[in-house]
Symmetry: C3
Subunit: 104 residues, 3 copies
């Protein structure tokens, strides 16, 4: 038997890793996973003229799963507001199914 849940994925420059994990810990998520990689993305003021494409910088991809979709969206929006207004980085949510809802 499977139960719906929401996964939040945050992709950001490594220098933001500690700030992201702090916010995730404060959100009530029971865990997270971090993987290192490289990426290309938009850098600079969101929507502003200062935005440039930065190629292949070091990134972290941080994911966590929450049972409560509304709570997951709330945390994603908080991360987005706090971290990504003047920094590159993206956040997306995915619907997943979990086996053991007591773990989340």
């Amino acid at each position: 038997m499977v139960h719906p849940a929401t996964k939040v994925t945050v992709i950001a420059e490594q220098l933001l890793e500690d700030a992201i994990i702090k916010l995730i810990n404060e959100s009530g998520a029971t865990g997270y996973t971090t993987v290192k990689g490289r990426g290309k993305g938009q850098h600079g003021l969101h929507g502003g003229k200062g935005r440039t494409l930065v190629d292949a910088f070091s990134i972290v991809k941080i994911e966590f799963v929450m049972k409560d979709r509304d709570k997951a969206i709330e945390v994603a929006e908080k991360l987005s507001e706090k971290l990504f207004v003047q920094q590159s980085g993206i956040i997306y949510l995915s619907t997943v199914e979990i086996l053991r809802p007591t773990r989340f």
Copy 2:
């Protein structure tokens, strides 16, 4: 043209990697991908009093895709029962779409 399939994601301590891959190979999946990372999660007896949060241990994230959703759930449940009763780790399923169903 795309075809529905189910992705199973297993996040576990590295010491469980070989056991997880053995079970995936036995399940009939045609492949898997492993990525190393770090994570925080619940550790100890599932739901028990011995459970503590362990921060930032080394983890593997192992993923495989199966065309048959029921089979994917069955493999996920088997992995969960065999590996995660007294160990930290999570499993979740996602619906994906594949291009070449003969590959899976």
Copy 3:
């Protein structure tokens, strides 16, 4: 508020990384993320007798998100045709939700 988008995931041998990124850049995607890992999959002619299972070779997992689902499928099919006819590798699409549609 969240907005639907499509994530494309490409898992391939590392030697294909540059060719994949070139195609993604040409597709109009605003960014991508690359993570290194290991994998097992089918190798050789697609569906042909020469296909063998290759265990634990070095892979890259490359992901990008597009707002336009039809465009994402088109890019995925182009990647599949150009890169995976005689090479191992898989591509799958997932529906995700994004917070800031102007970033994609």
